[in-house]
């Protein structure tokens, strides 16, 4: 990887004995009509708790697939996926949904907010699904998260009334709703200008410094270089980790 001009890389935390995220012999094949497409061809990967990891690679290399497997959004065709000591590849869809709501915060490239809910309502949604605390407590928590991402004054705005950067901040506030141990982002800054993208990354970095494990896919070399570690994927296999 070209390190010239790289910004300062984050300090990697001390490694504990058990990895927080473990992929062992993971394969993933998608069925596209009559064709089978092997997105991952046998991945072995370990990520420690509190790490800030960037996943890079060309389009179609399997980056998003890894993220989806770690977040329980997809299931491996073969191999095992362990997160926080739990084999998530063995969980049912319902168990995965509950687990995600409590342990994972997902940030998508295109924000993916519900258009009919306000910023505050979008931010509180995972807590509503987890039925955690009273309604008042949930809203207070969501307001704090919105304030954390700098949108405390736009809680009642609809997504259509916010800029791209503001929408992504709401998405991050939503991802933080259940105070998860793991944050995954699929090109979280891909739809933002460079200034806003940099601001977004600072947010991720702050969350990581608070102890959260952050895993993100990016095409941005500079952003990738600022991670503790870069995992490079090509043609469904890890070429550097």
């Amino acid at each position: 990887m070209d390190t010239e001009g790289m910004v300062e890389r984050a300090t990697r935390p001390a490694r504990v004995s058990e990895p927080f995220i473990g992929l062992a012999g993971v394969e993933k094949t998608y069925r596209m009509g009559r064709l089978d497409y092997p997105a991952l061809r046998g991945i072995d990967l370990e990520i420690g708790a509190g790490e800030l990891v960037a996943v890079v690679g060309p389009s179609g290399s399997g980056k998003t697939t890894i993220l989806n497997l770690v977040a329980g959004i997809d299931r491996p065709t073969a191999g095992t996926v362990t997160v926080g000591g739990r084999r998530i590849d063995l969980m049912s869809e319902e168990e995965l949904a509950v687990w995600r709501g409590e342990h994972v915060g997902v940030v998508f490239q295109f924000f993916q907010l519900l258009p009919t809910l306000s910023a505050l309502e979008n931010a509180v949604l995972p807590l509503d699904f987890a039925r955690r605390g009273s309604k008042r407590e949930r809203f207070e928590h969501a307001r704090r998260n919105l304030a954390l991402v700098g949108l405390g004054d736009k809680a009642d705005h609809l997504p259509a009334e916010l800029s791209g950067g503001e929408q992504q901040r709401v998405a991050i506030a939503r991802a933080l709703a259940a105070d998860p141990q793991l944050i995954v982002g699929d090109e979280p800054t891909g739809n933002l200008d460079t200034v806003t993208a940099a601001e977004m990354f600072e947010l991720f970095k702050r969350l990581n410094e608070q102890g959260k494990t952050v895993l993100y896919v990016t095409h941005d070399r500079e952003l990738a270089a600022r991670a503790h570690r870069v995992v490079a994927i090509r043609d469904g296999v890890v070429v550097a980790a």
Binding site: G72, A97, R100, L125, P126, D128, F129, A160, R174
Partner: protein
């Protein structure tokens, strides 16, 4: 090799199979509903075949019993313009149905194997010999008399003796069957010898003719020639009734059937309207979600007309599939309905038939409906600016206008329900169309149920005014005098005897009836304005009248006015002292003192042509036994009477009305089917559009029940909105159907729109909506998040 544009038109249908399925199903139901218009033509065809098979007469002559030998019958057959002649003897009396007696006709057929006109077919069993009868198939179907071959029927002969006649089987005849259905008279077929043994009078009472030329002038000439030929027969005393001429193409019950068909058309048009709204919905959504693809086609050089043609072809393909399925379904529906009606109303078997004009119209509607419905949406879509089109996601954003803000204020519901409610407001036009279609279905059912209630209420209301349990009516024109009244009063089980005189009159040129009654009558009269007549007015035979409000309205008669009534004895003047809101004789009745009528008609003071009798017990079996005793007593004293038992008349009327309204309700279910297909379609489209959103929700912790609740709320919102629109719509439709009934069938029904129907329809709508959307909701909950997020 197929062009890429044509391939796109075809593949757009196969892309979203469930949506295509529902759209085709909806269109098929719409086209099938047009098949109902074929019912009158198919019935006409079937009945015409029956008319031919039955050799229904063109001319019927009624006369006093006349003995005719073969030579005399041959002479009648030889009359110019006569193709064939068939004589028949007739006995009118009563048969026992349990303990009760009912009116019956026994028709004597000379030779069952060689009937020339008005054929009675032996449907089951064997033709009767002497002392044996055949029961008409309609007797059992109409619930008047249910007997089988081998059983016996007890008939009261003219001399009062009861004869037991064995039943040899079941017969079928259009004329006889219609008599059973329309007059509620039991019809039996026998030999002339059997009839003569019952009537004690040999000879034929009716002559049936088929003619060569049925034009009026030729028929009149033929009638004159027949009369001339019969004049040479000893004992001929002239015709006893006007000769009945059957118009070409007519069959018994045709006009009633055609009138009833008008109601069918109203419901069918509603079904068609519902379906067209849904088709428009579906095609509009199909086009709207392809805005970005339209942008791509524009970007690579596609012109508006070329792009529009792609989607018009898709719509035509959709129409072709729907029309094909619909034509087949419509033919089946029309056949099943015609067969049911033929069997129920006319005891006629109907074979499968196709009404080609309706098939052609169905094909045109099916093929042209979808592209016409799609035109506005296509027009809008091809005019979207290229940049906007390329950025479109196909899913409504929503959340920004006043309606959305209003929905956003509903915060007391759980979050998932809030999401579902707001989703219903996102595709405003589609949600409104779906709710409108539900409204059409529920409104139609409310109207039909309201009509059924109104008709039943009218029947009950009309009969509730009757204080009598039995009506005794003299046969043959001889009035019942004071002796008859005394005999009735002395009969065990009789509580009250109320003499009445009912006669036809004209008021202001309009047909009316006078009910001449006693001041203290058993009839439960009601006064809306003015008063009933007093005892003094009864004693002085005052010319006073209480008139029903309907005829008061049509003639302009008011309280205190003098009216001139044309009676059998000439014009008579009456002062209107009261207006009644009742609906006896369809609201055309005038109530006057019986003494006044006696004075007008110069008959004996105690004469009556009806006696209304109250029994000492309301028990039906008790009423039957008392009626039998009254008839036996009067017959033994030389009075020839018939009886009408009120509870039987009421039950028959309600059953008859119930059959008609049930048929309407069954057709109304077609509209319900279309609306439910539309609802399933709308929700399927909603799930498809929000597949990625479902993936997101599942990614952030939503469980299956949360997804279920979101879409169930959307379903309930659409269903409830539909019901709310249905209530006023159903009321308006109910009023229209009652107006149609009153004007087509000359009835006087009042609109009824019971509140319990509203509650029932709301519960039914919600339940059915949730049931019908089980499949699309299940699909939503079973989506894997990864697949949902990748959905394109």
């Amino acid at each position: 090799m197929v062009s890429s544009l044509l391939r796109k038109s075809i593949s757009d249908l196969s892309r979203r199979r469930s949506r295509t399925f529902f759209a085709v199903a909806t269109l098929a139901l719409a086209v099938a509903s047009l098949g109902l218009f074929a019912t009158p033509a198919l019935m006409n065809r079937a009945m015409s075949a029956e008319v031919t098979a039955d050799r229904l007469p063109d001319l019927t002559i009624s006369m006093r019993p006349l003995v005719l030998d073969q030579a005399q019958l041959s002479a009648l057959a030889a009359v110019p313009n006569v193709r064939a002649v068939e004589p028949r003897s007739l006995f009118g009396g009563r048969v026992y149905v349990g303990a009760r007696r009912a009116f019956a006709q026994v028709l004597g057929i000379p030779d069952f194997t060689r009937q020339a006109v008005n054929v009675v077919h032996v449907a089951s069993g064997v033709a009767p010999g002497t002392g044996v009868v055949l029961t008409d198939a309609q007797n059992a179907r109409q619930g008047l008399l249910s007997v089988h071959a081998g059983q016996t029927v007890r008939i009261i002969a003219a001399d009062g003796a009861v004869r037991s006649l064995r039943v040899s089987g079941e017969g079928r005849n259009l004329d006889g069957g219609q008599t059973v259905a329309s007059d509620s008279v039991i019809v039996l077929y026998a030999t002339p010898a059997t009839v003569a043994s019952l009537s004690r009078t040999p000879g034929y009472d009716e002559l049936f003719f088929t003619l060569g030329d049925t034009r009026p002038a030729a028929v009149n000439t033929t009638i004159a020639a027949i009369r001339h030929t019969l004049a040479a027969v000893p004992g001929f005393a002239g015709f006893s009734d006007l000769p009945q001429v059957r118009a070409a193409g007519d069959w018994p019950g045709k006009s009633g059937f055609q009138n009833a068909s008008k109601f069918l058309y109203v419901i069918t048009l509603l079904a068609l309207l519902s379906a067209l709204v849904l088709i428009s919905n579906t095609v509009t959504t199909l086009v709207a979600e392809q805005t970005s693809e339209i942008g791509i086609m524009k970007a690579v050089g596609g012109r508006r007309r070329q792009i529009a043609a792609v989607y018009l072809k898709t719509a035509v393909l959709l129409g072709g599939l729907g029309a094909t399925a619909g034509i087949v379904l419509g033919a089946v529906i029309a056949f099943v309905l015609t067969r049911y009606l033929g069997s129920t109303l006319f005891a006629v078997g109907v074979g499968f038939g196709i009404d080609w004009p309706i098939v052609i119209i169905s094909a045109l509607v099916g093929l042209l409906g979808p592209p016409l419905a799609a035109l506005p949406a296509i027009r809008r879509a091809v005019r979207v600016p290229l940049r906007d089109a390329l950025q479109a996601t196909g899913s409504a954003v929503g959340g920004q206008d006043a309606g959305d803000r209003l929905l956003g204020r509903v915060r007391f519901l759980p979050r998932t329900a809030q999401i579902g409610l707001r989703n219903a407001g996102r595709r405003r036009r589609r949600s409104l169309s779906t709710s409108l279609v539900i409204a059409l279905a529920v409104g139609t059912l409310l109207a039909v149920l309201g009509l059924a209630t109104a008709v039943a209420n009218a029947s009950r209301g009309s009969w509730a005014d009757h204080g009598e349990d039995v009506k005794i009516v003299p046969v043959g024109g001889r009035l019942l005098d004071a002796s008859a009244a005394a005999l009735i009063r002395a009969t065990p089980g009789v509580a009250t005897v109320d003499p009445m005189f009912v006669t036809d009159v004209k008021l202001d040129g309009k047909d009316a009836k006078i009910w001449a009654v006693q001041q203290a009558t058993v009839f439960h009269y009601r006064i809306a304005a003015g008063r009933w007549f007093t005892r003094a007015e009864e004693q002085t035979r005052a010319h006073v009248a209480i008139i029903e409000s309907d005829i008061a309205q049509t003639t302009g008669a008011r309280l205190g006015h003098s009216i001139i009534v044309q009676t059998a004895s000439g014009p008579a003047s009456f002062r209107v002292i009261g207006i009644s809101p009742q609906q006896q004789e369809n609201g055309t009745t005038l109530f006057v003192p019986l003494t006044t009528m006696h004075a007008l008609l110069t008959s004996r003071p105690a004469d009556a042509n009806e006696y209304w009798v109250q029994t000492t017990s309301p028990d039906h079996a008790f009423i039957d036994r008392t009626t039998t005793r009254i008839e036996d007593t009067l017959t033994a004293h030389g009075y020839d009477v018939n009886s009408e038992v009120v509870y039987v008349k009421l039950a028959n009327e309600i059953a008859s009305n119930s059959t008609k309204t049930t048929m309407l309700a069954a057709v109304g279910l077609l509209v319900v089917a279309i609306s439910m297909a539309g609802l399933a379609n709308a929700l399927t489209m909603s799930v498809l559009e929000r597949t990625r959103e479902i993936g997101i929700l599942r990614s952030i912790g939503a469980r299956a029940r949360d997804i279920r609740r979101i879409f169930a709320t959307e379903t309930l919102t659409l269903a409830t909105a539909g019901w709310l629109i249905a209530v006023p719509l159903g009321y308006v439709l109910d009023r229209f159907l009652v107006w149609l009934l009153n004007n087509v069938l000359n009835l006087s029904i009042t609109v009824s729109f019971p509140a319990w129907n509203l509650a029932l329809s709301l519960a039914g709508t919600i339940l059915l909506a949730l049931l019908i959307t089980l499949v699309p909701i299940r699909r939503a909950t079973h989506l894997r998040p990864g697949d949902a997020l990748r959905y394109a």
